[in-house]
């Protein structure tokens, strides 16, 4: 019994060992042909580099991005303040960099938490079906239908001390940061839950899952060993797209004064006093929003490119 595949594999013994990697290298090759996706990857790398260079640049310029200096509000760009200063006389460029760290971090953390919720609920609904499934899907439909922004504002305005947290914690910067991460995660899991449910429904009927069950495998084993690894690619794409949405949520909440609390900068809260900026320093009204815009559009193109690379049916563009 010598099939063609066996012969080929015998001729190239190394081929088999790297089979798993070869799937990814194929995808990488397809991804590289997606111009938007490649460009976004480069842009995102540069953005991260930009945000991470905040501290070194601060040392180099000998500035302190947190100290306000009311004598030098809205200074024009200069050798020390490359993009000028903001309404508190702080260096705009450094605040953009630090703000970016916060915005990106919120984006990633809320996506991981919300995505975790979505993956878990989607897996449970898809795998067990029945009453649990219809309950969870009702819940998902309900959350999708809600006007999320007003709800987020209410959640962001809650008094943490009334929830049993110490007053000290409730007013700390960490609480402000984690509050925003958690509430965004709490509302933005529905897309992933639906996707994971649909993918789980398809995978759980495959014979290898049935075979594992026939051998006595429990639900947890089956879900983690067979279902999850086989639906990981659509999940990666969905997570990517979620990062973009979360960054937008964070920015609008911070902009409205319900997100990251100053003096900690975030791209959203740097536009807090936008009405004033529009007339006095229009450039400052542009920078933070432009960075959000570029980040989110790059993230979305990245997701699109990955979708293209992961989908065997997609033609070359």
């Amino acid at each position: 019994m010598t099939d063609v595949a066996t012969e080929a594999a015998l001729a190239h013994p190394s081929r088999g060992i790297h089979a798993a990697q070869s799937v990814w290298s194929l995808r990488w090759r397809r991804f590289r042909h997606h111009r938007g996706g490649m460009a976004s990857l480069v842009i995102l790398a540069l953005l991260v580099l930009f945000c991470l260079s905040a501290y070194p640049l601060e040392r180099y310029l000998g500035l302190d991005s947190n100290t306000t200096d009311l004598l030098s509000r809205y200074d024009p760009p200069s050798a020390t303040h490359w993009l000028g200063t903001d309404e508190g006389g702080r260096d705009e460029l450094l605040r953009l960099m630090y703000g970016g760290q916060i915005s990106l971090l919120v984006g990633l953390l809320a996506t991981v938490i919300g995505g975790g919720i979505g993956v878990s609920l989607g897996l449970l609904a898809g795998y067990f079906g029945g009453k649990l499934d219809s309950f969870l899907m009702r819940l998902t439909d309900g959350v999708i239908a809600l006007p999320l922004l007003p709800l987020l504002i209410v959640l962001a305005a809650l008094d943490l001390t009334k929830l049993g947290f110490s007053s000290e914690f409730a007013h700390s910067g960490a609480a402000g940061f984690w509050r925003i991460v958690v509430i965004i995660a709490l509302v933005d899991w529905t897309a992933i839950a639906r996707l994971v449910r649909a993918a789980t429904l398809a995978v759980k009927e495959r014979d290898y899952v049935v075979a594992a069950r026939a051998s006595g495998a429990g639900a947890f084993y089956t879900m983690t060993t067979h279902v999850l690894p086989n639906i990981v690619t659509p999940i990666i794409v969905a997570f990517t797209l979620t990062v973009g949405r979360v960054i937008l949520f964070e920015s609008v909440l911070s902009f409205l004064g319900f997100g990251i609390v100053p003096p900690t900068p975030s791209w959203g809260n740097m536009l807090n006093n936008a009405q004033e900026l529009v007339t006095t320093a229009p450039a400052l009204a542009i920078y933070p929003g432009l960075l959000i815009f570029i980040t989110v559009i790059a993230v979305n193109f990245l997701g699109d490119g990955m979708q293209h690379a992961f989908d065997p049916r997609s033609e070359r563009r």
Binding site: G142, A145, P147, V154, S251, G289, I292, I297, D304
Partner: protein, 317 residues
């Protein structure tokens, strides 16, 4: 059919009831409480008086009981009194609701029209130049922070060009129809641009799918006039799900409306909710949030019913 409609209306009412309880509970967790706020503005009020007042207003009662009382009153049309407006809530709500409807409906209609045109044109030649440009535009639409888009439009059309007013709903002493239109132009434009991107993606995807179908290909092959094929066969089949999805995104639209109204100082529901939360006007915030929920639930209901009505393949048994 009749049974389906009844069931969906029933579901909507249940969701509304659940949401009213959740929102009621959340509002209670916001900082401060009405009596404390009242006491703070009146020096000389002793703690004993405050406690007595709380007892009179039933604020020392358990949550379920307070909710029940509120619900019973609300069902009889008594939504309480707005602290900041010094008016019954309903009288504050009604004009705000009307203002928001003007903004949302006009921008929704414009978005749908623009999305249909752009989506169809790009679906005719996927991957072509037009498609690439439209795709870029659509990605920009879903990636742009709405508040920043509003800022850019204000900077351009109000500050730099002086074509349109940057805020408010009418000029003092004018208030004629054209004046209102001028004031509404920028908000509508903002909301429309923000939504057209996502809508265009829906239309494009649905049109490509439909144009690939056999019966459309047959029509092409038979030499039918190209536009006739697109309009008669393509659009009719692609439109039903697309319009449904658009109607389902009313929740997102409302979130956009909140930001837009805040940016342009339009006294609509969104800005009213935002202001009432900022100023601890609990009655107004509660009712505003409920109305926002009701609007989105009703639009979802309408979308569902329309979908079932229009698509013969869905049996509503």
């Amino acid at each position: 059919m009749f049974g389906f409609v009844l069931r969906r209306i029933g579901q909507t009412l249940v969701v509304l009831l659940i949401m009213s309880f959740i929102i009621y509970g959340l509002i209670g967790l916001m900082p401060g409480d009405p009596i404390d706020i009242m006491a703070a503005s009146m020096p000389g009020v002793t703690p004993e008086v405050v406690a007595k007042l709380k007892a009179i207003y039933g604020l020392d009662q358990p949550l379920m009981l307070r909710y029940w009382r509120w619900l019973m009153a609300a069902l009889q049309g008594d939504l309480g009194f707005s602290r900041t407006h010094s008016q019954p809530v309903l009288e504050v709500l009604t004009p705000a609701l009307w203002q928001t409807c003007k903004l949302m409906i006009s921008s929704f209609v414009l978005s749908v029209v623009a999305a249909l045109i752009l989506g169809i044109v790009s679906a005719l030649r996927p991957g072509g130049l037009v498609d690439s440009v439209v795709s870029l535009f659509a990605f920009a639409g879903i990636s742009v922070p709405v508040f920043w888009l509003a800022l850019v439009l204000i900077l351009t059309f109000a500050v730099a060009l002086h074509w349109l007013p940057a805020s408010g709903m009418s000029n003092v002493g004018d208030g004629g129809f054209m004046d209102q239109v001028r004031h509404l132009t920028l908000p509508v434009l903002t909301l429309m641009l923000a939504n057209t991107g996502q809508f265009t993606r829906y239309v494009r995807a649905a049109m490509i799918e439909t144009l690939r179908m056999d019966f459309v290909r047959t029509a092409w092959a038979k030499g039918a006039d190209a536009w006739r094929v697109v309009i008669v066969h393509g659009l009719r089949n692609a439109l039903i799900p697309v319009v449904t999805i658009m109607a389902l995104s009313f929740g997102t639209l409302f979130s956009g409306a909140l930001v837009t109204e805040t940016m342009f100082a339009q006294q609509g529901m969104g800005k009213m909710i935002y202001d009432s939360i900022l100023s601890n006007d609990f009655n107004l915030a509660l009712s505003g949030l409920l109305f926002a929920t009701l609007i989105t639930l009703l639009s979802n209901l309408a979308a569902d019913l329309a979908y079932g009505w229009l698509d013969p393949r869905i049996s509503l048994g």
